[in-house]
């Protein structure tokens, strides 16, 4: 119990430190708001392409701005959770602080989670802001039919992408990927997600093999469920994804189950790999680099 308390106190301290740093740059906040605004604008401009056309977004209603703003929101979460753990571990290594964290009573995971608070502060609120800008300026309309379900999906997309992120981070020590390009993140983020996540278009417009590839990433299920629930006119029962066509369960239930499954596989696997990586680095003398 005491141990948990001290780990939580440390996490709180990390978040405080990251907030002090984040807020100490006043320009940051303005740049941050502008960045989200312009990103939303770009997505809105993309939506104009479909204006007046009879392109179908079935089963995701008929408001492409909402469709694309939800894509932007999931993109923010995914980009942070998938890409950030590796970048943070890299920062600990190059900054030379891994040794100091190991000399503290903290668990191996707390520093990793702790320094991710910068992204939590910086990136997660972007989702709310993007949805807000979409609604206020660009004509996005949201139907909040089931707020608890949306909240549950939000947690699941956070945890499942974080699991992949920790796997990516563990490769820093486990496979000695000390440079920026790390295969797990590269394959997932820059290839599979970029091609098949469906930020800008429904997965169903892709060739079937790509739809199958897209079935292995959490974005597919999160976007499917969010869009059905949040876009007015979304169909809750129509089955369109490859796995939905195979398993006879209501689509949103299946989306949730798959996200739960991805979470319970990727998070323990990531944490296990991360510890193995640290142990390996302790044997090889590559825990940190003092410059």
């Amino acid at each position: 119990m005491n141990r948990l308390k001290s780990e939580l106190a440390s996490l709180k301290m990390f978040s405080k430190r990251e907030f002090i740093i984040w807020s100490s740059y006043r320009m940051n906040a303005w740049m941050w708001v502008l960045d989200v605004f312009f990103n939303t604008t770009i997505f809105f401009l993309l939506s104009l392409v479909t204006k007046g056309s009879d392109i179908s977004f079935f089963p995701y209603g008929n408001n492409y701005v909402t469709f694309i703003v939800i894509g932007l929101g999931v993109h923010y979460i995914s980009y942070t959770n998938l890409g950030d753990p590796f970048a943070r571990v890299s920062k600990i290594y190059w900054g030379g602080t891994m040794d100091l964290y190991l000399l503290s009573p903290l668990s191996y995971y707390t520093p990793l989670m702790g320094i991710m608070f910068r992204s939590v502060i910086d990136d997660y609120p972007r989702v709310i802001l993007a949805l807000l800008f979409g609604g206020l300026f660009f004509g996005a309309i949201y139907s909040v039919a089931n707020i608890w379900l949306i909240f549950l999906l939000l947690i699941l997309i956070l945890t499942s992408t974080l699991g992949f992120g920790i796997i990516s981070a563990s490769s820093f020590y486990l496979f000695n990927f000390k440079q920026n390009t790390e295969p797990v993140r590269f394959i997932l983020q820059d290839i599979i997600i970029a091609l098949t996540a469906g930020y800008y278009y429904p997965l169903t417009v892709l060739p079937y093999p790509l739809q199958v590839v897209g079935s292995f990433i959490p974005h597919t299920y999160a976007l499917d469920a969010f869009r059905r629930l949040l876009i007015p006119g979304g169909d809750l029962m129509a089955r369109v994804l490859p796995i939905q066509l195979l398993i006879d369960i209501p689509p949103i239930t299946l989306d949730i189950l798959i996200l739960v499954l991805m979470t319970i596989i990727t998070i323990p696997l990531g944490l296990f790999m991360y510890v193995q990586g640290i142990k390996k680095a302790r044997r090889e003398g590559t825990l940190t680099r003092w410059q």
Binding site: M13, D99, L100, R282
Partner: protein, 327 residues
């Protein structure tokens, strides 16, 4: 009374893999059969050129690096099975103060952050931080950004961080390497103070010979992963016959006075020829006053006094040469 050891390691080996080509790699011994005993409360120096294996050795002793062979205990904890317990009981300061110092936080905020990370009792944190700021002369800079204080102060901040938890062992890896003479002197004074006032065993690495000479009770001279000599500085000098020299030109000295001088502490050899008194001493700065006082008491005329210190540098170089010849 039996000697209490803070650290005792035997035949430690550490090999690093070096990639030569895409597939081919070779191993080299970063630490090669090193045995060492460090007493509680002493300042122990690891002296050696760059790449001698000093940092690797302290990382092994701090539980941050696993040895490939040998045995050892740090504070009675096994080096292999209880490395987590070792890490919880030792502190470490890296060669650069920037390690662990966040330039976006003030001096005090940095310490507050690490106090929580090191799980310092909530009720004691503020008091401990204040104590350390005062102890290391940083109190008036507590609200400064680390970037706006001197490198020496930043190094003291790093030392303050390492002292937040009252651990019995402190490892200092080249603590003055990036400091100017003034900053380095201040840090050395604080190292002495920490050892004297807090009773902490300090193991420091350095390639500054004068630093080892000023600070260390004992030194181990390392070269190519081996310890080629380990002793007090005086004993190293004795062994290598590297003594300070004191030459006093004076009027004739009675033989009994020469015999008397020969028996004093630190005096290795005392001879008198042609009005020249030649003394080989382990500590010329002590001997000079005692000898001059005695000669004056005897009403002898002193014409000139010359000293030549046998620095640790000459001992170091001789030891390295001897070590390399015997390897």
């Amino acid at each position: 009374m039996a000697v209490e050891y803070a650290i005792k390691i035997n035949n430690i080996i550490k090999k690093y893999k070096i990639k030569q080509r895409a597939i081919k790699s070779r191993y080299f011994n970063a630490i090669d059969d090193v045995s060492l005993s460090i007493e509680k409360g002493e300042i122990f120096g690891l002296l050696g050129t760059n790449g001698a294996g000093k940092t690797t050795l302290i990382k092994i002793m701090a539980g941050l690096l696993e040895a490939d062979g040998g045995t050892g205990k740090v504070l009675k904890y096994d080096l292999y099975k209880e490395h987590k317990k070792i890490r919880a009981k030792v502190s470490l300061v890296a060669p650069t103060a920037d390690v662990g110092t966040d330039n976006n936080l003030t001096v005090k905020q940095n310490l507050e952050f690490w106090a929580v990370v090191y799980n310092l009792d909530k009720n004691l944190r503020a008091q401990r931080i204040d104590e350390l700021l005062l102890f290391l002369d940083l109190k008036e800079y507590e609200d400064f950004w680390p970037m706006s204080i001197s490198a020496g102060m930043r190094q003291r901040l790093a030392i303050a961080r390492s002292l937040l938890v009252k651990n019995p062992i402190l490892f200092l890896d080249e603590p003055t390497v990036k400091l100017d003479a003034k900053g380095a002197k201040a840090v050395r004074n604080f190292i002495k103070k920490i050892n004297k006032d807090l009773g902490i065993t300090i193991i420091l690495t350095t390639h500054f010979i004068f630093e080892a000479e000023e600070l260390c009770d004992r030194v181990a001279i390392m070269d190519k992963g081996k310890i080629i000599s380990c002793d007090t500085i005086n004993n190293l000098r004795k062994r290598l016959k590297k003594y300070d020299l004191l030459e006093i030109e004076c009027s004739s000295i009675p033989k009994d006075i020469i015999d008397q001088i020969s028996k004093w502490d630190y005096i290795v050899k005392c001879t008198y020829n042609n009005n020249l008194l030649n003394i080989e001493s382990l500590k010329v700065e002590v001997s000079i006053f005692e000898v001059l006082k005695l000669l004056r008491q005897q009403d002898l005329e002193i014409y000139s006094v010359r000293t030549k210190e046998a620095s640790l540098e000459s001992v170091f170089i001789s030891t390295l040469n001897n070590g390399r010849n015997s390897i």
